[in-house]
């Protein structure tokens, strides 16, 4: 696994990601409402929320793929120009790679776009900042891969060149346990190399997964109906029983009712 080291943060350098009062609506439907969030270099943050809470839309705003009101800056630059400078790696929630190409051709293509030299198979494999064995065999066509394998290739495409800011939308979806563990190890290595990541995740179901993620991520940002309702450690998020027969989610110091999503998937945000 080869992850490019990023220069240590400079006091005069702007924050890696600064989101201020971002709002986004589709017609009358408000998807993001006054979202603010800052990430310093080396931060790994989870963006957690129920379906439709605005996680994917926020990542698309930061990736420069959708317009919004408010400010989002990546190292002081607007998202589109940051992407053009190669500062952002992005994995969409749903991506279907063409079936007629091989894994190696996908890797080589995205490596060339990022200016990474890939003249032979060894360089191809080394261009991917993921553990050995994470990628399926380079000569296999995408059409012959399972959903989880395709997801791993798409993930590799997003991480090639070790961009300073990585935006991953439910990266572990379709991955088995072994490859999920590899993914989180990669995130740890990314953080150690000075990289920054914002990772959208569905509500954390098990305490075991939460414990694993706590070793990877510094923070968990909880989105509810487009608003940030909690920003704290991963372990501060924990399941909570339904309250009085009416499933709710609440954060300490925040008494706003949360959407009913099923008692077993609920969690509450503890003290920061």
């Amino acid at each position: 696994m080869r992850i490019r080291k990023h220069a240590p943060p400079d006091n005069g350098m702007p924050e890696m990601l600064s989101i201020q009062s971002v709002k986004k609506s589709f017609g009358d439907s408000v998807v993001l409402d006054d979202v603010s969030l800052q990430l310093k270099q080396g931060d790994i943050a989870l963006l957690v929320g129920a379906n439709g809470s605005g996680k994917s839309t926020l990542l698309r705003c930061v990736a420069g793929l959708t317009s919004f009101d408010g400010t989002a800056l990546v190292l002081g630059a607007d998202p589109r120009s940051a992407a053009r400078r190669g500062l952002i790696g992005y994995l969409p929630q749903l991506v279907a790679l063409p079936e007629a190409v091989t894994v190696g051709e996908v890797v080589a293509f995205f490596a060339r776009l990022r200016g990474v030299s890939v003249s032979g198979p060894d360089e191809l494999a080394a261009a991917v900042p993921l553990p050995d064995g994470f990628l399926p065999a380079l000569e296999r066509p995408i059409g012959a891969l399972s959903g989880g394998m395709r997801r791993r290739v798409a993930l590799a495409a997003a991480l090639i060149g070790s961009p300073p800011l990585v935006l991953l939308d439910e990266p572990a979806a379709s991955l088995d346990e072994e490859h999920s563990a590899s993914l989180w190890e990669t995130m740890k290595a990314l953080r150690a190399a000075g990289g920054t990541a914002l990772i959208a995740m569905p509500l954390l179901v098990t305490s075991l997964l939460r414990h694993d993620l706590a070793t990877v991520a510094d923070r968990a940002v909880l989105l509810d109906r487009g608003r940030v309702v909690h920003d704290g450690s991963v372990e501060s998020l924990r399941p909570t029983p339904a309250l009085g027969g009416s499933p709710r989610m609440s954060a300490v110091g925040d008494s706003r009712p949360m959407p009913a999503v099923g008692a077993q998937r609920l969690m509450s945000a503890g003290s920061r």
Partner: protein, 276 residues
């Protein structure tokens, strides 16, 4: 503009296109009909020569003006719209390249695929002609091929523009087929119908040709293959009197270049303004 990124995208699009059924099917069909047209036209070729714009030449010109542009428009229409629907476009647009780089790469890659098809079809024709044709005839064929390559660029650019603007892949494919029908047949039929009654005159017809990239391509092929401009009827006569064959060639080339430039700009605007 990042040429590295443009050619990376071009290589990717070319690879995807030539592995698709559309290109393989069209290349095969185009080659077969080119061979058939050449065999049927060999008799007239031996009497008139290719440069005489006989039936054989006319058949090759009509094939070149119908098949590759249809293929180019459909490939172009499928490009961005398909990538958008597959979720691939967001992944591509976050890479270190501008929207214009991306559009240029897509157009170049798909033009390469259409050129390959043209190469197969006319390559087979050239092999058949080699035994009976003289140097002037081969020159005429090369002129037709060169013109067909130019028309292919316009067709792909138009298709990519449609792809960038259309709401879905199906809509893009439908629109591109509609455009092809409009340029290949409908405008001619309308012009033929109204020319006498509204007194378009030679100048009106000339403008009509310039506004139709496929017709401009057909005129270019006739002129480039050494045919007398008079073979184009009233329009040809008008050309001879006013700007001459060289001027007409320049005019239709300018028309094709303008269509290409405007299409690429439209595609770029579509990709820039529309959320992937």
């Amino acid at each position: 503009m990042s040429y590295r990124a443009v050619f990376a995208v071009a290589g990717w699009e070319f690879r995807l296109a030539v592995r698709g059924r559309l290109v393989m099917g069209t290349a095969l069909t185009f080659t077969v009909v080119c061979v058939v047209a050449t065999l049927l036209g060999l008799r007239s070729l031996s009497e008139l020569g290719l440069a005489g714009v006989g039936p054989g030449t006319a058949a090759l010109i009509n094939l070149a003006i119908l098949f590759p542009p249809l293929m180019g428009m459909m490939l172009g229409a499928n490009s961005l719209s398909s990538a958008r629907e597959r979720g691939l476009l967001p992944l591509m647009l976050v890479q270190p390249l501008s929207r214009l780089d991306h559009v240029a790469g897509v157009v170049i890659g798909l033009v390469g695929a259409v050129w390959l098809t043209i190469g197969f079809g006319f390559g087979a024709s050239a092999l058949l002609l080699a035994s009976v044709a003289g140097a002037a005839d081969i020159g005429g064929l090369l002129a037709i091929v060169a013109s067909a390559l130019g028309v292919a660029i316009v067709a792909v650019a138009l298709g990519v523009a449609v792809s960038a603007i259309a709401g879905s892949r199906l809509q893009a494919l439908g629109l591109s087929m509609g455009l092809w029908f409009l340029f290949a047949f409908a405008i001619d039929l309308v012009l033929a119908g109204v020319a006498a009654s509204v007194h378009l005159g030679p100048l009106g017809l000339f403008v009509g040709v310039l506004l139709n990239p496929l017709e401009a391509g057909r005129v270019l092929m006739v002129l480039a293959s050494g045919g007398d401009a008079l073979t184009l009827g009233p329009f040809g006569a008008y050309l001879n009197v006013t700007v001459g064959a060289a001027g007409a060639t320049l005019a239709v080339c300018a028309s094709l270049a303008t269509w290409t430039g405007l299409s690429v700009l439209a595609a770029w605007a579509g990709v820039t303004r529309r959320e992937p």
